[in-house]
Amino acid sequence: MGVGLTNYIVLSAILFGLGIFAIITRKNAILVLMGVELILNSANINFVAFAKFNKLNIEGHIAAIFVIMLAAIEVAVALAIVLNIYQNYKHINVDEIDSLKE
């Protein structure tokens, strides 16, 4: 058997499950962000795989480009918020944070 569409979808499913696991179990806000990055990457693999197996349809690539751009924006804003929280609380454990200002 060659490498087919199913291989890529299963790979992205495993990556998605690991991202969900990271989001559920981690307390540190930055590690939760890393779980979100894993999930976005798995979605991108799906987009590009379906584009490849539909006569190299370029629309999947464009969707993946916009997902990458939104991921960059999300990380920048989220890290700004995390640094602000760290100045107030001296830690970034998401289960003990209940307010954004002191």
């Binding site: 060659g2 490498v3 890529y8 990458i68 289960d95």
Partner: protein, 167 residues
Amino acid sequence: MLEEIVFWFFALMIIGSALVVVLSRNMIYSVFALLFTFFGVAGIYVLLSADFLAVTQIMIYIGGILVLLIFGVMLTSKITGVDVKSGQTGKVQMFFAGIISLFIIVLLFYIAVSTNWNRVESTAYEVNSTIEIIGKQLLTNYLLAFESASVLLLIAIIGAALIARRK
């Protein structure tokens, strides 16, 4: 044959380093394992003949997002103390979270295997590079989304600078 070897190499690289990202007790190890996950995904893009996306992945994810995450780790944890360890929840939560994510993986696996995807192999449609097609599409069909993306980037820069500055 060669395609299978390359695919399994990158797939094992992605899954192994993602496991380190998810399970490691040390935050620095997690961030550096994320580097290998991103490289593996870029390799998968190359295998899927998405050359522009592979370069974009390396430039934005590794050159931008990963550096930002490393900055975040270094700025928010006490490197000299023992507080670099990543805080994880207890054993019971780990157990149930493992069950939930395993259930999601099995469900998606079942869907991927059991569905007839009606796929069309791209071997008949040979292109040298996708960059030209992507550029034309971005400036014709997706022009509104492209321009609003630039406005969104500007808003994000201003917002991030406004939130993160010291009082």
